[in-house]
């Protein structure tokens, strides 16, 4: 069950749009910075395949300029 965190950089002036778009996606938590144009995304999926699909979904968001992975964990399903 992969858990990953990313830094997401929005296009200029698109931070709010990016927050809204991300909040529609399940298995994806968003922590926006208060004073900078960057968000933290934490994803939690059941399988590696689902993890990849989720990443593709996020990358397809228009307001997203750059997605940079920071850390990744994989845990057994029943843990």
């Amino acid at each position: 069950m992969p858990i990953k965190s990313y830094l997401a950089h929005p296009y200029d002036g698109k931070k709010d749009d990016l927050v809204i778009a991300l909040s529609q996606i399940s298995k994806c938590d968003v922590i926006p910075a208060e004073n900078n144009d960057v968000l933290i995304i934490v994803t939690e999926t059941d399988t590696l395949k689902e993890d990849e699909q989720l990443k593709e979904t996020i990358e397809a968001i228009d307001s997203l300029k750059l997605l940079a992975m920071v850390s990744g964990f994989d845990t057994p399903k029943n843990n």
């Binding site: 965190s5 909040s23 208060e34 004073n35 900078n36 960057v38 933290i40």
Partner: protein
């Protein structure tokens, strides 16, 4: 609706991992955007935020002195956020600040006293351990004299702790064998201030950031070491177009965030500073009125040595000179001559000089360890002051030289209380008036306070090695990781000839050699006061109970003093000793030049800057407009000097004591990283920070790595004439040293780079140079 971590229903392990993942991202973000806030996340992790009791205090870590609010629930610290009322950080914190309280619950926290018996540590009631400490100290004094006992304290000790240490050693016992780890980080700043202005600590304040057009950082990686201030500078850069110029020996995160990065060959900052003065003088950029009315010119001795031998001593002999002589001296420092050995181009030297020389631009110079940990540390401090004095850019909002401190109370405790061998809470031991004042307030005979300084930090541990010091007590510091040349001082401290007492919060390589380990209270488990880099004194109340028999250091000193028969000098109560001690200490600084805010004010406000006069902080000293201590009509009054004039010093370039050669072809530079606080004893116990930076490394320039066929992560042995250390190589990662130089952070007790460093020091300040020695590197 946005999902939130707290709403997720997760097993505790998964919940933990998600928090770790989020925290790792926050750490990464914080290094890219210093001072970044994730307030929503802060609040969200807080159980039942409404029920939290938020208590104010200063951050435990660096000398910036950010105001924090600690959320306490059921007697436990459960959250930390920036204090929006603190003018220092205006609600911002760096990654260390946010996570600081997480170390308190570390599994290996020292909760009880430990006494070494037959080679093993035995848990001992604190009273019994203090009995032993007092009797050993007394016994040592009786058998070997009072100069056989020593105390080594910290810029992380609180003001009352430093004060009681000084009163015990100098006033009660009557020895000047007291020094502290601030000797390793800002002693050169002190001697720089004293020789130039006759008064210690910066004249300006952090509000300078809001006014300056240029920030010039001298060997100072502020993005990692003073992140909240750097983020305030970045804000001014984007808001007003203020410019940041990074002048350093290594490309760092500060360099990449700056408008311009200028690199120089180690040690040649002395020559470049003189070349800037040459340009200022020869282009007619001198503020003649200011210099004629407020400055003198002096020169001191040259070829002053490096302190490499035991019992080294040096006394400067200042001699007045005139402007013409100074101008002639500068002829050796034309940009063309200096460019040849500094590796700074003529164009860049002229560029820097033109910034300082432009009367319409406000400039603040910042520095910290790069200039202070320098075998000519006092000189380079003097030389940067010269630049500001020649141009009159000093003591005005947005204009001034500003030496930053590394520790949270390097100013408040080490410098103001004076936990150095030569210092008293006011003035120095060599001054009879200062001794008389101390004797009066301490109620001891003046003859008891010795008039001669004894051991500064390096010499103190040399004396332990020689067997001259037979009892040493260290508090809130980890010298066996932080001293230079630990390859000598670790075996020294292991010798049976010296009884070692270590008071700390966690076990360290220093406590590993102790005969008695005393369990100290951590920051928020006691009340206290710290003084930050901008002369701001900050008070906090005890917020939570410490575990087991943990005890505030000040109270342990008092208990030991009483056991040694000095009870009448230490009449404080356990509940109120912090207040009682501070009120006694304040008497030393009464008056317009250093008056400190009363406790009632400090309890209410997020700190106050001294001199605190008529209910007001003095933000810019020595300028009549802002500083009531200035002589009326003077305009500027450098009142630390009898004639009110600051000194422009003639100080030459002199080489480092050890330079790369055939056998040891690389410079070694050591320093810090944003994630870890100094020797890492606290931050390595904070999972988020430790995960972000789990171990030290040796940084190479890619060309050097290529020539030596070294790959990233490969284990490398770094060796000097003193010792060696094995670390993984780091190429093009955190920082980029210049060619011919390697850099190693010193936070990692498992990779002891200080076994390799050299214990040479500035002969005036006695501060060691951790930034320059010669090493060879090979695959391990």
């Amino acid at each position: 609706m946005q999902n939130t971590l707290s709403n997720s229903v997760l097993s505790s392990r998964r919940d933990f991992l998600k928090k770790m993942a989020a925290a790792a991202a926050m750490t990464a973000a914080a290094t890219m955007f210093p001072g970044i806030i994730f307030a929503a996340e802060q609040e969200k992790n807080i159980p039942n935020a409404a029920n939290l009791d938020w208590k104010k205090g200063p951050c435990r870590f660096c000398g910036v002195g950010c105001g924090i609010l600690v959320g306490v629930e059921n007697g436990k610290a459960v959250a930390v956020k920036g204090d929006p009322n603190s003018s220092v950080n205006k609600g911002l914190l760096c990654v260390k600040g946010y996570h600081q309280t997480m170390c308190i619950q570390a599994k290996d926290r020292l909760t009880h006293a430990l006494v070494k018996k037959n080679g093993t540590y035995v848990k001992t009631p604190i009273n019994e351990a203090l009995d032993l400490v007092a009797s050993k100290m007394k016994e040592t004094i009786e058998s070997h004299g009072k100069d056989a006992v020593a105390m080594y304290t910290s810029g992380q000790s609180t003001i009352p702790e430093g004060y009681i240490a000084s009163k015990l050693m100098k006033g009660a016992i009557g020895t000047n064998n007291l020094d502290c780890n601030a000797r390793l980080c800002m002693a050169s700043a002190v001697t720089g201030f004293l020789t130039t202005f006759g008064a210690d600590e910066p004249m300006g304040c952090y509000e300078d950031i809001d006014h300056a057009d240029y920030f010039i950082t001298w060997g100072n990686n502020m993005a990692e070491m003073h992140p909240v201030l750097f983020s305030r500078m970045l804000e001014q850069k984007s808001r007003r177009g203020a410019k940041i110029i990074d002048f350093a020996t290594r490309t760092t995160r500060s360099s990449t965030a700056s408008d311009r990065s200028i690199l120089f060959e180690p040690q040649t900052d002395l020559a470049v500073a003189n070349a800037i003065c040459y340009e200022i003088v020869n282009n007619g950029w001198v503020d003649k009125y200011f210099v004629e009315n407020h400055c003198n010119f002096s020169k001191g001795l040259t070829n002053i040595g490096y302190g490499l031998e035991d019992n080294f001593s040096f006394t400067d002999k200042p001699e007045k000179i005139d402007f013409a002589a100074y101008k002639e001296f500068l002829e050796d420092y034309t940009p063309e001559k200096v460019a040849k050995y500094s590796r700074v181009s003529v164009k860049d030297i002229k560029y820097l000089a033109a910034i300082y020389g432009d009367p319409n631009k406000k400039v603040v110079s910042y520095w910290c360890m790069g200039m202070n940990q320098h075998t000519r540390g006092t000189w380079i401090n003097n030389l940067v002051y010269n630049i500001h004095l020649l141009t009159g850019k000093i003591s005005k909002p947005g204009n001034g030289p500003f030496s930053l401190t590394g520790q949270p109370s390097a100013c408040g405790t080490a410098r103001e209380v004076g936990t150095f061998t030569h210092k008293l809470p006011k003035g120095v031991v060599t001054n009879e008036e200062n001794r008389k004042l101390a004797a009066k307030i301490w109620k001891v005979p003046v003859e008891r306070i010795p008039s001669k300084p004894t051991y500064h930090a390096t010499e103190m541990f040399r004396a332990v090695d020689r067997g001259d010091i037979k009892f040493i007590w260290t508090q809130a510091t980890n010298p066996l990781v932080s001293l230079p040349k630990t390859s000598r001082y670790r075996p020294a401290m292991q010798k049976d000839s010296c009884f070692v007492v270590v008071s700390d919060v966690f076990p360290t390589p220093t406590s590993d050699v102790a005969d008695v380990i005393l369990p100290a209270s951590w920051h928020i488990e006691k009340s206290g006061l710290y003084g930050n880099s901008e002369r701001r004194t900050q008070y906090w109340d005890k917020m939570v109970e410490g575990p087991g028999e943990t005890t505030p250091d000040a109270w342990m000193f008092i208990e030991v003093a009483r056991r040694m028969g000095y009870g009448d000098l230490f009449p404080y109560s356990k509940e109120n000793h912090v207040e009682e001690i501070f009120n006694e200490y304040r008497q030393f600084h009464e008056g317009a030049k250093h008056g400190m805010a009363p406790l009632e004010v400090l309890k209410k406000e997020s700190g106050a800057i001294w001199p605190y006069v008529d209910g007001k902080s003095t933000q810019w000293r020595f300028n009549e407009e802002f500083d009531p201590a200035c002589k009326k009509g003077s305009g500027f009054d450098f009142y630390g000097k009898p004639d009110g004039r600051a000194v422009i010093w003639q100080r030459p370039y002199e080489p480092a004591p050890e330079v790369p050669d055939k056998e040891y072809p690389f410079w070694l530079d050591t320093g810090r990283v944003i994630e870890h606080w100094h020797t890492g004893s606290m931050t390595r116990r904070i999972p988020v920070l430790n995960q972000a930076m789990p171990h030290a490394y040796v940084e190479f320039h890619p060309d050097d790595a290529k020539a030596l066929e070294i790959r990233n992560g490969e284990l490398i042995k770094v060796t000097s004439r003193r010792g060696s250390c094995v670390l993984p190589a780091s190429i093009n990662e955190r920082g980029l040293p210049t060619k011919g130089q390697v850099f190693v952070p010193f936070f990692d007790e498992n990779m002891m780079i200080n076994d390799v460093t050299l214990d040479a020091f500035c002969p005036i300040s006695k501060e060691p140079d951790f930034k320059k020695c010669a090493v060879k590197v090979e695959k391990a």
